[in-house]
Amino acid sequence: MLTDQISRRDFLKTSGALVVTYALAPKAANAAIDPNDLGPKTVAADRVDGFVAIDGKGVVTVYSGKVDLGTGTDTALTQIAAEELGVPMQRVKLVTGDTLLTPDQGPTFGSLTIQNGGVQIRQACATAREALLDRAAQKLGVSRSDLAVQDGWIRGNGKRVAYAELVGDRRLELKLDAKAPLKDPSDYTIVGKPVPRLDIPEKVTGRFTYMQDLKVKGMVHARVVRPPAMRATLENWSDAQCKQIPGYLGAVRKGSFLAVVAHDEWAAIKAASAIEARWSKWEGLPDKAKLWDHVRASRVAKDEVLQNAGDSAAALGAAPKLLKATYDFAVHTHGSIGPSCAVAEFKDGKLTAWSASQATHLLRKQLARMLDMSELNIRCLYVEGSGCYGRNGHEDAAADAALIAREVGRPVRVQWSRADEHGWDPKGPPTLIDYRGALDANGNVSAWESEAFIPERPGQIAVTLVAADLANLPKEASHPGNIHQGLAIPYAVPNIRASAHWLAETPFRPSWIRTPGRMQNSFGNECFLDELAAAAGADPFEYRVRNLKDPRGLELMERLRKLAAWTPRTAPAGDAGEIAKGRGVSYIKYELVRTYVGVVADVEVNRRTGKVRVERFFVAHDCGQIINPDGLRNQIDGNIIQTVSRTLIEDLQWNRSAVTSVDWQSYPILRFPEVPEIVIDLVDRPKERPWGAGEPTAAVVPSAIANAVYDAVGVRLRSVPFTPERVRAALKA
C-alpha cells in the first residue's frame, strides 16, 4: 500500500465514527484566524497582485479563478497574459481555482472564462505592463514613449531592463486600472494563433495528474453507500460483514449519509457492497410516462415575462392564421466519463478539499455552511478531473470527503462509482414550452407567444450538496442555472410575449448542463419559427434573414448560406424511398447579447426504422476576437457531437424511487460510427471583445436536426430525444 499504515484500532480511536449516531459538534473551528496565516498573497479581484506575480527570474505567475474544465482555457488564458505582458508563453505559469491564491471570478460556467475571466486577467496584465514601463523610464532615464516591451525586456535608446529586475521578488502592489491601455490587436503575435494546448503531451502519455490520480500522504479511501430510493431514510445498518475484508477500517454514518472507509480502494468498494443497510420506502418520483402532465400540474412559484413587445394577445386574436405547438426536452445527466472524485483533510481545525469543482469559491461557502465552519478555515483547490459540462458530482464528492474526513481524522479520498455519477449527479431539469404564433396576410410573423415551465431559481446560484441533504445538515436550495435565457427571440416581430412559469418543484435536484435553458429554449424557438415559415410557404433560411435586423447576425447568416450552399426550399423534399434526406437551419445570438452561431444540419431519416442519422453540420461562428482558433474549433466540434448525442439518444430513466439509467447501457451516448462530419467557418474579429464559445453552438443543434427531419419527411419532432420510436410514431400520425 502506498498509504502509510493505520490500524483499524487507530481508526476507531480517532474517529468514534463507528457509533451509530454522533453529533457533528461545531468545534473551535469557528474562531477567527489571522488572514496572514492563510498566506501573504491578496486574492482581491481589483488588485494586479491578485492576478499576477513576477519573480526575480522573470517567471510570471497568473492566478485565475476560472479553471480549465478540459476545454483548453489554461492555454488560452496563458496566451492572453503572455501577449498583454509581452513575455513568451513558456515563462507564464498558471495557478487556478485555489481559494487561498486565486481571486473569486465566479464559477467556470456560462461560456465566461475568456469573456470575463480572460478579460480581467488581460486588464491586470496591461496595468502591470504600464506600471513597469513607468518604472523602466525612471530607471533607464529614457522617455516613456521611446520604450517598447519584448520578451520580458523593456528597451529604448539602446538601453534595456528586464521585468525581473524591475520587480525583483516583490509583489506588484497595484490597483487594477480598468482604463489601462490594451495592446493593439494588430500587434498580436500570440493571441489569435492556433497555439498547441499545453496539457496534451502529458495527457496522451499518462503523465498528467487528474483529480482521480491525486494522492495525499496518509490518505484512506471511502465509498458512500447510497440509498436505493432517492429520499429514503436509513433505518438500520451493520458492517459485520465488512470486518472480514482486509483493509476495512470502519463506517461513518450521519442521518441517512452512510460511508465505508478502508486502507485501499478495492477494500472500500467491497465494503460498500458488503455493508447491510435497511432503508425506508420512498416512491415520490412522478410516473415517467406522465412526466409532462406532472410538470404542467406543478405549483407555479412565480410568473415572469422575459420579453414583451406590442400586444401579442390582441394580435393573436386578430390574426388570419394561427399556429400552436408544445415542445419538450428530456431530463439529462452530465455523463462525465470519469466519475467524480475528491480528497479532503482536516488538520488543526482547518479543512483542505481537493476536487475538480468548477466553482471552488462557491464550494468553500457551501462546505462552511454544511460543516458550520468559517470560510477562512477552508481551502478548496481545483485539480482537473474528467470534463463536467456544468455542475455534475464534483462538488458533491468534495462534500462527501469533507464529511467523512472530519470523522476519520485522516485525509479521505472519495471516488464515485459509475452508478453514483449517473444516478446522483444533479440533472438538467425537464423543460416544457407552449407556443402560439400568428401570421399576417403577407406571411410575416405578427405575434409570438411562448410559455416555459421550468424549475424556479432560489436566490443564490448553488446546487444542494448531496451529503448535506442526506446528513440533514444546513444546505442551500438547488438553483437550475439561468435557464430562462434564450427564450427571448432575436427576430423583429411586432408583438412578442415570452414568459416563464417558475415551478416550485422538479423531480430531480436540478443543475446546469452545457447550454442550460438556452438549448431547450432555442430548440422550441427555432423549430416553432420553422413551423411559421412553412405555414407562410417561405424558405426557412430566407425567413430568418428577413426578420433579422442585426448586421453582424446577417453577415454570419450569409457566410453560413455560402458554406452550406443552401438552396431555397418551401416544402419538404418528399423523397419516397426508405431513406429520406433533409437539411435544416438554426440561428442564435447567445442571450441576445453575445456569440452568434448559425448552423445547417444534413440528416437522413430511415422511414422504416425511424432512425435519424446526422450526416453533417455546417457551422458559422462569431465570438468576436478569437484567442485560439484551433481550441475554438475543438470546442465547436464538442458542442455539436455532444448535443447530437443529447438530441437523438439521451433520456434519463427512473421508476418511482430512483434513477434507473445508472450505466452506459441504460443511458447510452453517441458512439464513433454515428458522429457527423463538421464544417466550420470562423468569423474572426480581432478588434472586438472576445466572447465565449463553450456553449453557444450547442444551443442550435436540436432545432437544426428537427428542422432537417421536417425537410426530409414532413413531420415535426417536438420532443427531445428523437428516438426511432418517436420518429416512427410521428410518421404514422
Partner: protein, 156 residues
C-alpha cells in the same frame, strides 16, 4: 492472506501484494504501482477509459482480475511512449490536438494501438468501428479519428 502477483509491466518485472486476487488489474496499476495512464471510468467494461494491453491485446483492466495478469506482459499508456519519445499514436494525437478533457484518451490510444496491429492502413469507417466501444463525452471523436489515421500513415 495476501498474495504476490508478478508480471512484466512496460518492459520491467513488477509485482504487487494483493489481498484479493479478484481485484481488477486497474487498481493494482493505479494504486499499487502509481500509474496514471489507465483510468477508472465505469468499472463495467463499458467505456474503455481503463484499457491496457495484456499480451498485446487490448483489455478492460477495470474488470480484468489481477490474478489473471500473473506472468503476463502488460503495456500501459506510459509504456507506449513518453513526452520525450512519443509513440506514433501519441505524436499524432498531439499533432491533431485530439484531446479535450482527455479522460478517455488513454483508452482511445491503447485501443487504437492494438487495432493498428491488425489493420495497418484502416479507412475512417474502420477506425470508427474499431473505437465504437470507447466512449468520449467531450465530443473529440472527429479529431481522434484523424489522429489514428495520421498515426497509421506515419507507421506505414
Amino acid at each position: 492472506m495476501s498474495k504476490t502477483i508478478s508480471f512484466v509491466l512496460n518492459g520491467r518485472q513488477r509485482s504487487v501484494q494483493v489481498d484479493d486476487p479478484e481485484m481488477p488489474l486497474l487498481y493494482a496499476l493505479r494504486n499499487d504501482l502509481g500509474l496514471h495512464g489507465p483510468r477508472f471510468g465505469c468499472g463495467l467494461a463499458q467505456c474503455g477509459a481503463c484499457t491496457v494491453h495484456v499480451e498485446g491485446k487490448a483489455v478492460r483492466s477495470c474488470t480484468f482480475p489481477v490474478a489473471q495478469a500473473a506472468g503476463a506482459k502488460l503495456l500501459t499508456l506510459e509504456g507506449l511512449g513518453t513526452p520525450e519519445r512519443p509513440h506514433a499514436l501519441q505524436k499524432a494525437f498531439i499533432e491533431e490536438q485530439a484531446v479535450q478533457c482527455g479522460y478517455c484518451i488513454n483508452g482511445m490510444i491503447m485501443q487504437a494501438a492494438a487495432f493498428l496491429q491488425t489493420n495497418r492502413r484502416p479507412t475512417d469507417s474502420q477506425i470508427k468501428e474499431a473505437l465504437a466501444d470507447n466512449l468520449c463525452r467531450c465530443g473529440t471523436h472527429a479529431r481522434i479519428v484523424r489522429a489514428v489515421k495520421r498515426a497509421s500513415e506515419s507507421m506505414a
